[in-house]
């Protein structure tokens, strides 16, 4: 009998081992590795770049010097180092992007969870209509309202001081709400179909606990993947806002400001002013998309 049980264990072992391996070494495809490399490269630029570079706001060279050994990304029309400004801009973008996605998720996930749990009811309907209304206003228009009302600098709301960064984070978070809420709701609608939800209700588990203790752990992984993908979109949106003059204000360096400044020098040459900061954005958005696809694939178990 003992031999039987050991062998039974042997028969089950391959399954366990396989799972362990999956945990230890992620099975990324070639594109997944490229994505990971891009994301790491951008993070290095954002986190280490400012430490090793020249002062981003001081004149450290001649005006409009092409990229070279002294100024890796060249200089702008005021003689400031473009690499230093790009690195600082990347750091700002990363901060704003992470802040806005996290902020958006914190508000949207409970809304989506509740709407999905009460799918098809009036509450669901009302919540989703509000989300739709928010979605009908592009983030730029929301930003225009806010900037039009409160100006582009810091503003005081009673005891609260809203820096431009906080304003942009809040704006982006609000504009992401509908998407995050929708994704959460869709995942919840599927999850609520599972028989365990009825079983918990029959047992008498309170609704609040079913929502946040039982449904949430199952709903959150696909939502987090979406959130991760939206970090790329947030980097883009932040730079777009600054580009339009609605986000960070010069001389503060942000990826969008750099591009906006570049338009001034566009016709007198200086391709590096517009190409290089933009490439930094492209790098992180491509990286996030490639990596996000991989995570989604691994999560859903597709091959």
């Amino acid at each position: 009998m003992s031999s039987l049980s050991t062998s039974l264990r042997a028969a089950q072992r391959p399954r366990r081992l396989a799972r362990l391996r999956l945990l230890k070494r992620p099975h990324l495809s070639g594109l997944g590795w490229v994505g990971l490399a891009f994301v790491i490269a951008f993070c290095l630029l954002a986190l280490l770049g400012p430490l090793i570079s020249l002062d981003p706001n001081e004149r450290t060279g001649g005006a409009l010097e092409a990229p070279g050994a002294d100024h890796w990304f060249g200089t702008d029309d005021l003689g400031r180092d473009v690499f230093a400004r790009t690195a600082v801009g990347a750091r700002l973008s990363l901060f704003v992007a992470l802040g806005s996605v996290i902020g958006g998720l914190v508000v949207a996930v409970p809304i989506g969870l509740l709407a999905g749990y009460r799918g098809g009811t009036r509450l669901d309907n009302v919540l989703m209509r509000i989300m739709e209304a928010l979605q009908a206003l592009p983030v730029f228009i929301l930003a225009l309202f806010v900037v039009g009302m409160t100006g582009t600098g810091s503003s005081e709301f009673g005891p609260l001081t809203l820096t431009p960064e906080i304003k942009v984070i809040a704006l982006l978070a609000v504009s992401f709400l509908p998407f995050f809420a929708r994704v959460t709701r869709a995942a919840t609608l599927v999850e609520v179909q599972q028989e365990y939800v009825d079983a918990l209700r029959v047992v008498g588990v309170p609704r609040r606990h079913i929502l946040f203790g039982e449904l949430l752990p199952n709903v959150i992984p696909p939502v987090l993947v979406q959130g991760f993908l939206w970090v790329g979109i947030a980097v883009f949106a932040e730079s777009a806002l600054s580009f339009l003059g609605l986000g960070m204000q010069p001389p503060q360096a942000s990826l969008g400001n750099l591009l906006s400044d570049a338009t001034n020098s566009l016709m007198i040459g200086g391709w590096w002013l517009s190409v290089l900061p933009g490439l930094a954005i492209l790098l992180v958005t491509i990286g996030i998309n490639l990596l996000g696809d991989e995570v989604e694939r691994l999560l859903s178990g597709r091959r």
């Binding site: 209509r129 928010l134 206003l137 580009f243 391709w271």
Partner: protein
């Protein structure tokens, strides 16, 4: 179909009302109220009272709200504070430009995206598939305004004269000139949408090819061509339409950006310039128009969905409400 359309339009109207309410509240939530924008800093009390009376801001909030909604619904939009031109006139010119740019970009890029996605699914695992997979990720990742900037640089500085790198030629300036001026903005506006569409269609087609009904079709000797073009595509289009619907907002937001990059005289440019000039009647009208366009486009996608998915039709006709 008609009753469905009416029901959906009703829903869209409710959302539009919500949007109006939000716009109204945002105007009034600003520190110092909406009049601040008109008055600048430190106005005299007399001037302040005059402006308040002129704008009707001395009345109760609900009355202001009703007036506000009423004026939008009756298209009584007032005149520009800076130029004095009636807002409706200003908007009419601009919206034709934006609609044309949006539609051209949308139609062309959707077609390209769908073609690429379908071909990639059909050639799964081959070179073409790899090209589409990488290409679609690059396309959907590229920041549109940056791409626009690069295009302006290339066509304005390095190869001038091939395509106009800025501005907008009206029909009056000649059909060829007009069309040439659309190329770059439309290219920039739609490219990321094409990436998303290609990717979605590829994934859903591959999923559809694994479906029971495709296996059954194969077991009866249907050729791959029929399976791909008649069965898998037909099923895969449904999730793709959903994604297109979800992207409409991004698309309209993108138009605001692109019009500013290429200096296209559309609503997107108007909305930015009017807000920055504190020209509120124009800004609000342009905002509401933008939201309205989004809602109409969403409505069209919904109806399309209704037309291509018989299950949605059946659900609408006999949905049990527990």
């Amino acid at each position: 179909m008609l009753s469905y359309a009416i029901r959906r339009a009703g829903g869209a109207a409710v959302v539009l009302l919500l949007v109006l309410t939000m716009v109204f509240l945002m105007l009034h939530a600003a520190p110092g109220g909406p009049e601040t924008a008109y008055l600048g800093n430190n106005p005299t009390p007399e001037k302040r009272a005059a402006v308040l009376a002129q704008l009707g801001l001395d009345r109760p909030l609900w009355a202001q709200y009703l007036t506000f909604v009423g004026s939008i619904l009756t298209l009584d939009l007032g005149s520009s504070l800076t130029t004095g031109t009636p807002v409706s006139e200003l908007l009419a010119d601009r919206m034709l430009v934006t609609l044309e740019l949006g539609l051209v970009a949308f139609v062309v890029w959707t077609a390209i995206g769908m073609l690429a996605g379908a071909l990639a699914a059909a050639r799964r695992g081959r070179a073409l598939d790899a090209v589409v997979r990488v290409g679609s990720v690059v396309a959907l990742s590229v920041p549109s305004f940056w791409l626009g900037l690069i295009l302006v640089l290339v066509f304005g500085l390095y190869v001038p004269g091939v395509l106009p790198s800025s501005g907008w030629a009206t029909w009056d300036e000649g059909v060829g000139e007009h069309l040439r001026s659309i190329v770059l903005p439309a290219f920039t506006l739609g490219i990321s949408a094409a990436g998303v569409i290609a990717r979605t269609l590829r994934t859903s087609m591959i999923e559809a090819l694994d479906a029971d009904h495709v296996t059954f079709g194969r077991s009866l000797g249907l050729n791959e061509r029929t399976i791909l073009s008649r069965i898998a595509l037909r099923n895969a289009v449904i999730p793709t339409v959903t994604v297109i619907g979800m992207m409409l907002g991004t698309f309209i937001g993108g138009a605001v950006l692109i019009e500013n990059v290429f200096n296209v005289p559309g609503v997107g440019q108007l909305v930015v310039s009017s807000f920055l000039a504190h020209d509120y009647p124009v800004a609000i009208a342009a905002t509401v128009w933008t939201a309205g366009t989004f809602l109409v486009a969403t409505l069209v996608v919904d109806l399309l969905y209704f037309a291509i998915d018989p299950r949605i039709r059946a659900q609408f006709l006999e949905r049990s409400t527990r």
